[in-house]
Amino acid sequence: MGDPDEELLSRVAAGDPAAVRALVARKLPRLLSLAGRMLGDGQEAEDVAQDAFIRVWKQAPKWRPGVAKFDTWLHRVALNLCYDRLRRRREIAFAEPPERADEGPGPDRGLMALDTGARVAVAMAALPDRQREAIVLCHYQELGNIEAAAVMGVSVEALESLLGRGRRALRAALGDLKEGRHDP
């Protein structure tokens, strides 16, 4: 199975400006989609995308065809950058706890007032990281189960379990889904 990105990558390594633009046009939306949904923050997603491309530029001249699929590698790079940021968030939250318990809207509270997209965003943010990662890779990034499992470093069975648990949690958080469905 050939890697559809390899030829473009070799031109990038040679400093072809058109190839650079083409690779950015091909991969940037995917990176923003991945990081945006992992982090729930557009600005941080842009930072991750920019950092990921710095690694791409560094890696391009050294890329070994056939060792790994470029898109898979890029997903792993971007996810590592996302996890760095999620870890930093937790460290800051631990080091600087709020002065009093947060009584504002929790992940499930107040969802009814938001539109569906925003409600899903809140529910996704409340998922455990690995469940969110599985759903983002399979549902939004449309990776196959074998590729998604490889990116996550888990078995296909474990991926399936993460997906199932994640989707059940989302359904519980978005409890009124049936109201929006119109049967024929």
């Binding site: 939306p29 842009e46 391009a60 996704m124 939004y140 074998i146 399936e160």
Partner: protein, 136 residues
């Protein structure tokens, strides 16, 4: 395929059977023919969640992001300064001299070992493996 397995697959991969793992689709199709009513309920439930997930759009690309990214990309090799001053004839002569030297050198010396592994090692980067080895 059992109904339980069908439900587990719908719960994991959603209500569009075309997006399920390829090896499961044939069994799913047979069950859909055998148990249409029960299967329809399972898929409809999964479809509801799929529709909600589809409403969550990724962030838009900010102005200037592409230019910032492109600015760090590899650049084409810079042209040699005053290269245009070298006459074509001189260039051809130099090329011929180089070729002769290479032939002579090849005859006089032992050829370097071109072990594929050493070449790969020379151009490889631990980043490739590191991102796959690291457990997130």
């Amino acid at each position: 395929m059992t109904l339980e397995r069908f439900a587990a697959l719908a719960e994991a991969y959603g209500g569009d059977v075309a997006r399920w793992p390829q090896g499961e689709r044939e069994g799913a199709a047979q069950l859909m023919a055998a148990e249409p009513a029960q299967v329809r309920d399972i898929l409809a439930r999964a479809d509801d969640l799929d529709a909600a997930l589809a409403a969550y759009s990724p962030p838009r690309v900010a102005t200037g992001l592409v230019d910032r990214i492109v600015a760090g990309a590899p650049r084409p090799p810079a042209p040699r300064p005053f290269g245009w001053l070298v006459p074509a004839g001189m260039g051809a002569g130099l090329a011929a001299a180089c070729a002769a030297g290479m032939v002579l050198g090849a005859r006089l010396s032992t050829p370097p070992v071109q072990d594929p592994d050493s070449i790969v090692a020379a151009v490889s980067d631990e980043d490739v493996g590191a991102y796959f080895d690291e457990e997130a």
